[in-house]
């Protein structure tokens, strides 16, 4: 299991290759990558991502450990950037490796659902025309956690 909270960009191919090469006997590797999406009319100049150093690493570790407990996983990887990112830049990635794809897919979705609303990151959109807006959390993101609850949940 590896958790990395970093300002620097990451190489998707290199990270995916290294992750897949590091697991033995896993028939399935799933990766998800989050990218800075431009606003509707090309009005986004940058995305600023703030986080809570210390708590961020603890929360991501707890979420990844919970995924390792709930599914039969060979390994997990979470990389999440902070700082100022341009549209099109990669914000984060998760990777999961398992013997079978169902575990790998479900665990990747679980990691994404939890790190969206339980990892202490905050996004601010810097607009080309001047001005800036904090991205509001969506009810749908909170609702997404309910499908995993029933069992115990991490960091909640």
């Amino acid at each position: 299991m590896r958790i990395s909270v970093q300002e620097a960009a990451f190489e998707l191919g290199a990270e995916s290759d290294a992750f897949a090469a590091g697991v033995a006997n896993a028939g399935a590797v799933v990766t998800f990558t989050g990218v800075v999406r431009d606003a509707d009319q090309g009005g986004l100049q940058a995305m600023e991502i703030e986080h809570y150093p210390g708590m961020t690493e603890r929360a991501l570790t707890a979420i990844a450990e919970e995924a390792m407990d709930r599914w039969s996983l060979a390994d997990t990887l979470v990389i999440h950037r902070h700082g100022r990112l341009a549209p099109g830049e990669r914000i984060m990635m998760v990777a999961t490796a398992a013997r079978h794809r169902k575990d790998a897919f479900e665990a990747a979705e679980y990691l994404m659902d939890y790190l969206k609303s339980r990892a202490p990151f905050w996004k601010k959109e810097i607009l080309s025309g001047g001005g800036a807006d904090w991205v509001a959390a969506k009810d749908a993101d909170e609702d997404a956690l309910k499908r995993w609850q029933g069992g115990k949940s991490p960091a909640s």
């Binding site: 929360a59 609303s117 990892a119 202490p120 996004k123 904090w134 960091a155």
Partner: protein
């Protein structure tokens, strides 16, 4: 104790962290003390349903006890991913 603010809470209050001397028993008591300080605190804490709190870097609740807590953080709902 150390009190930390993030995102628009930090912007509204105008600082990222401060040392607070308090005898508040719960998070809610601490919020009342902060609100009473100045308008910028009252504005930041006007709607607690829009805020989250972490105690020693673990997500918590506003009715939680502050006993033994060294670090309190206030912030809006998180938007990772």
């Amino acid at each position: 104790m150390d009190v930390l603010y993030f995102a628009w809470v930090r912007e509204r209050i105008g600082l990222p962290r401060e040392q607070v001397e308090t005898s508040a028993a719960t998070v809610a008591d601490l919020v009342e003390e902060l609100r009473a300080r100045e308008e910028r605190y009252a504005a930041a804490f006007s709607d607690l349903s829009a805020l989250r709190v972490a105690l020693d870097q673990e997500l918590s609740e506003f009715d939680a006890s502050l006993e033994g807590v060294r670090e309190v953080a206030f912030f809006p709902p998180m938007t990772g991913g």
